[in-house]
């Protein structure tokens, strides 16, 4: 029997054994703590343990499971909340109470609950790996499609009748070409660190619509894309992720709370349970999975939580769903890598982070994408990762390396947050590489002018940031009238358009066509004011007439379901400007 030799925090060593393989899941000690083999040499085998090792003694047994750290995939994942190694927290609460104790053994998915299964194949059919063979309604909004495991294919030799089954019951048998029989169940396992296979990657062409104006209009992300939200503390990373999780048009949300606050996870739980999904009319939780590894839970499980989350996402992607993953925060994950690397006494690279940090980050972000799954369905995974740079300094290794592997960068700005301008995404520092790929969608589905309006709005902001350099030195009074106007209109763009109130019933989610109409009204205002200024009317007169305030407040004054009021607004603005002329 193999036994514990050395213990140093979450790192446990076993001597003189050849029994284990890399990445194998093992049970450590009498309490059967869950661990993973992360290093093997001729003398020592190194295990990282996903639970607290307090009380562990040398000489306690270490037992291999014979398989890599895997996620259990099957119905019952949705509307659930798991820890970093996919243990359901509600079940853990029943076993160990309000505080999580070590070695608690709970099953990932409910093994008793019967699902209403419809079999979609018959005996004699040939099934390829990853094809759908049965369905069952998992929640009122998501139909669970049971997939043949990606490493199995063959002829169906047994199929159960439609009916009620739990995740352990045999519902089909497949005979593969070499004659082996494989039993199929509602649930299957997949190693979390290996991407699930797919047929091919497809080009991204559809935006992930979030209802947040600065994102949808100015810095859009595509379905299957990757984005990073870096920001110092208090800049609203978590708030932005909550907004996206609530409103984005993905079918399923995987929310990974990685090394963050416990109260935040409770908030997500409470809020999502109470919130009605605008698309389906059901509770938002019905299409959400939460993975909570709060900052005081064991650090090794924090490292695993990211992989667990993406594996769950890939499983649903393979059914043909569009998934959005919120990872809050990838910096905590990187720090978990650093902590374990330090315990292994590996040679550090930048700021103590291990040299493999960039490759781990890229492996993670590459698991996003818009794909054709083995089941022939199209599905996608969009990854939105929060980054918490140390000292809000974007030059630190995690931010810099993340920047290389994502195509959308929403930089949060401390000064905007201080001024309570939310979302505090800085329009000058942020970018999206998806604009070109998505322009066709906006062109076809919203308005022909969408992209050109977007550019004009961006130009106003750009112009303002140049002018502000001057204003900072000599004040705004000395600027010529047309430049003063730019500053006024840019303020309308910033406050009336980019700033969005998550607590306002209409403003929290704004459909694309309203976003377009808002841009239209701002540009109309700019246009009419420009004419007025050209005719010799000073900007102060325009300000006095209240037109800027009027357009700024349109986000509150015009409800989402009354777009016709924009015409009224535009006319009012024109009238107001005209009436100045007459004086």
């Amino acid at each position: 029997m193999n036994t514990v030799f050395g213990i140093n925090g979450p790192v446990v060593k076993v001597r003189d054994t050849k029994a284990f393989s890399m990445m194998e899941m093992v049970y450590v000690g009498k309490k059967r703590l869950i661990g993973e083999i992360i290093g093997i040499n001729s003398e020592e085998t190194t295990i990282q343990v996903y639970e607290s090792t307090t009380g562990l003694m040398p000489g306690e047994p270490v037992v291999g499971s014979g398989m890599p750290m895997s996620a259990t995939l099957g119905p019952g994942i949705l509307a659930n909340i798991f820890d970093g190694i996919e243990r359901p927290l509600k079940a853990l609460e029943e076993v160990t109470g309000a505080f999580i104790a070590e070695g608690a053994s709970v099953t990932t998915l409910d093994e008793v609950k019967k699902w209403d299964v419809t079999l979609t194949v018959k005996v004699g059919d040939t099934l390829e790996a990853g094809q759908i063979f049965a369905t069952c309604p998992e929640t009122p909004v998501i139909m669970h499609k049971c997939l043949v495991p990606p490493d199995i294919s063959g002829e169906v030799t047994f199929i159960a009748p439609d009916g009620q089954y739990n995740i352990l019951e045999k519902i089909a048998v497949i005979k593969s070409s070499d004659g082996t029989l494989h039993e199929l169940h509602l649930a299957q396992k997949w190693p979390i660190k290996i991407p699930r296979p797919m047929k091919k990657r497809l080009a991204v062409s559809r935006p992930l619509i979030t209802g947040q104006r600065i994102i949808d209009t100015i810095i859009p992300i595509s379905k299957g894309g990757t984005a990073a939200i870096p920001g110092g503390f208090g800049t609203g990373k978590t708030m932005t992720q909550h907004q996206l999780a609530k409103w984005c048009d993905a079918d399923i949300i995987v929310y990974i709370g990685c090394g963050e606050r416990g109260n935040e996870m409770t908030q997500v739980l409470e809020e999502f349970t109470g919130l009605v999904d605008p698309k389906t009319g059901n509770a938002l939780t019905d299409r959400t999975v939460l993975i909570a590894n709060t900052s005081n839970m064991p650090v090794a499980a924090r490292e695993a939580s990211i992989y667990t989350g993406i594996t769950l996402a890939e499983y649903y992607r393979d059914m043909g769903y569009h998934i959005a993953i919120m990872a809050d925060s990838t910096s905590r994950w990187a720090e978990a890598l650093r902590e374990i690397s330090g315990r292994l006494e590996e040679m550090p690279a930048e700021e103590g982070f291990p040299a493999y940090l960039p490759s781990r980050l890229s492996e993670f972000y590459e698991r996003a994408g818009y794909v054709e799954a083995l089941s022939d369905n199209e599905g996608s995974i969009t990854i939105i990762g929060a980054v918490s740079p140390q000292g809000a300094d974007f030059s630190e290794p995690v931010t810099q390396n993340t920047k290389r592997f994502v195509r959308c960068f929403w930089a949060l700005d401390k000064n905007l947050a201080y001024a309570r301008h939310y979302p505090a995404i800085n329009w000058n520092d942020s970018y999206s590489e998806y604009v070109d790929e998505l322009s066709e969608y906006y062109h076809d589905n919203v308005d022909i002018n969408f992209m050109s309006y977007r550019q004009q709005i961006a130009n106003i902001l750009h112009e303002e940031s140049k002018l502000m350099e001057i204003v900072k030195l000599i004040g705004s009074d000395v600027l010529p009238e047309d430049q003063k106007l730019v500053i006024e209109v840019a303020a309308v763009v910033r406050i009336g358009f980019l700033q969005q109130n998550a607590y306002h019933k209409d403003d929290t989610y704004v459909p694309l066509d309203k976003q377009f109409k808002m841009m239209n009204s701002i540009l109309n205002l700019y246009d009419k004011c420009k004419q007025a200024v050209a005719n010799g009317i000073p900007v102060t007169e325009l300000t006095k007439s209240g037109v800027f305030d009027k357009v700024t407040k349109m986000k509150y004054d015009i409800p989402n379901d009354k777009p016709q009021l924009f015409n009224v607004l535009d006319t009012e603005v024109e009238e107001a400007i005209k009436s100045i002329k007459k004086e």
Partner: protein, 467 residues
């Protein structure tokens, strides 16, 4: 445990606060040990690493006076535990949880591992009840919520202690009965005067009998400092979750704590991260701060106010930085304000309470709370721009708008931020004062509030009274 009767004579190695023993059997990770010196004194320690029969111990009181031969080490068969009982109230302990007030040992009702266990997120209750502190800047702009962890970021010489005492004195922590609250005070590496100041203030307020104090002063052993907040929080959790009390925990100074962690880490030969702090400082701090909250099986709550001094007033220093990422907001003190005589010198813009949004408004404070606080923040941010510009072009050259911001800024600091250390303002007073200050500006500058709210509260007559 068999081990508790076996004493190992001598040590193999001594390195800073760490000692190494060889040929140890049946020791477990995190186990407590007692080391007896030849002169009869004893020290406590903890196992921090095991390699087969070689064991590394951390000695809390330091290794001064230890030699390789003059010791007997006994393994106690349990992790570091804190004895618990309601009789802890009113007592004073050392940083490692030993009574130092001369009133004898604690008759423990139970005991708990000082490291605690992670709270299951599904067992948490989301904090919603606000605690009125009577301090305008806090109540209106960074509201403290029961079950929150809200640190004070300060600098040496600033009035953080005075502010903490005022919060303790005025905060309505208890329910109406007034009996179910207690304060747990942990001093880590603070000067004796500071500890005395707190003690005296508790006495004057008449709460001393409801305070549990843990004192690790600046000349006490550094390893003990690592245990101090953990002992304090074990007590806080016990009183809150088993005795259903509302607990306010004050931890000061977290920077000294983090420096103790750094010293310990470097003596273990660990790879340093930023500014020499170990890579796990975030997890380590989180294991302290995350022990605030409310659970669904008990009526009590743990609210934390950690105090930390920012070295060189640098908010990007690893300690304030990592703290800010874990805690639910921060109250930042500002030296310039302090120098101009403003008490409390709260720097409004970088201060924040993350839990505020769900604990204010109708049913909690007042329906217009969110509006007034947003508008105050936005307007005060503009004040900073105007001031920066005034420094370049002079105040006379400013536009009318900027001039009105300048005026608002001065009044805001004088009337809203500043208040007497014994001044206890109601939430109505605070919010009305906010509107009066906003009303000093033209209506068009108040762009964060909807027109009807503005019509209801905009009142230039009141504003004219502010001088």
């Amino acid at each position: 445990m068999a081990n508790s009767y076996v004493a190992y004579v001598g040590l193999k190695e001594i390195n800073g606060p760490l000692v190494v023993l060889d040929n140890v059997s049946n020791a477990f990770y995190d186990e407590m040990v007692e080391i007896k010196l030849e002169n009869g004194s004893s020290r406590m320690g903890r196992i921090v690493e095991i390699q087969g029969r070689r064991v590394v111990l951390q000695v809390f009181e330091g290794t001064k006076g230890l030699s390789l031969e003059n010791t007997r080490t006994r393994f106690l068969g349990k992790p570091m535990e804190m004895p618990l009982s309601e009789d802890l109230l009113g007592r004073v302990f050392s940083g490692a949880g030993k009574p130092i007030d001369g009133l004898g040992d604690i008759f423990a009702e139970s005991s708990a591992d000082v490291n605690g266990k992670p709270l299951n997120p599904v067992s948490r209750e989301y904090p919603r009840n606000y605690i009125r502190t009577g301090i305008s800047a806090i109540d209106a702009l960074m509201t403290l919520i029961r079950g929150q962890k809200l640190p004070i970021f300060s600098g040496s010489g600033l009035s953080h202690n005075k502010l903490a005492v005022q919060i303790v004195r005025q905060a309505q922590i208890a329910d109406e009965s007034g009996e179910d609250f207690a304060i747990v005070f942990a001093a880590m590496g603070v000067k004796n005067d500071v500890a005395e100041y707190f003690k005296k203030s508790f006495e004057e307020t008449g709460v001393l009998s409801r305070v549990v104090m843990f004192l690790n002063l600046s000349n006490d052993p550094i390893i003990e400092r690592i245990l101090t907040p953990r002992c304090a929080l074990a007590v806080a959790e016990y009183l809150a979750f088993e005795k259903n009390m509302h607990i306010l925990v004050i931890l000061t100074d977290m920077t000294s704590y983090a420096e103790a962690v750094r010293e310990f880490s470097s003596s273990k030969g660990e790879i340093p991260g930023r500014k020499g702090f170990p890579g796990y400082l975030y997890s380590d701090l989180a294991s302290i701060y995350e022990r605030a909250g409310i659970i669904n099986t008990a009526k009590g709550s743990v609210t934390q106010i950690p105090i930390l001094t920012m070295p060189n007033d640098d908010i990007t220093h690893p300690v304030p930085d990592l703290t800010g990422y874990i805690t639910e907001g921060q109250i930042v003190l500002d030296r310039t304000l302090d120098q101009t005589g403003v008490y409390p010198s709260i720097s409004v813009l970088p201060s924040l309470s993350r839990l505020m949004k769900d604990g204010i408004g109708e049913g909690f404070t007042r329906d217009d709370h969110a509006d007034v606080s947003n508008q105050l923040f936005a307007a005060y941010a503009k004040v900073q721009d105007a001031r920066a510009l005034a420094q370049v072009i002079g105040e006379d050259e400013l536009s009318d708008t900027d001039k009105s911001y300048m005026k608002f800024g001065a009044l805001f600091e004088k009337h809203f931020v500043a208040q007497r250390p014994d001044e206890n303002r109601t939430i109505e007073e605070t919010l009305d004062l906010g509107w009066a200050l906003l009303s000093t500006m033209p209506k068009t500058l108040l762009d964060r509030v909807s027109s009807d709210v503005l019509d209801k509260h905009y009142d230039p007559e009141k504003a004219a009274l502010l001088k």
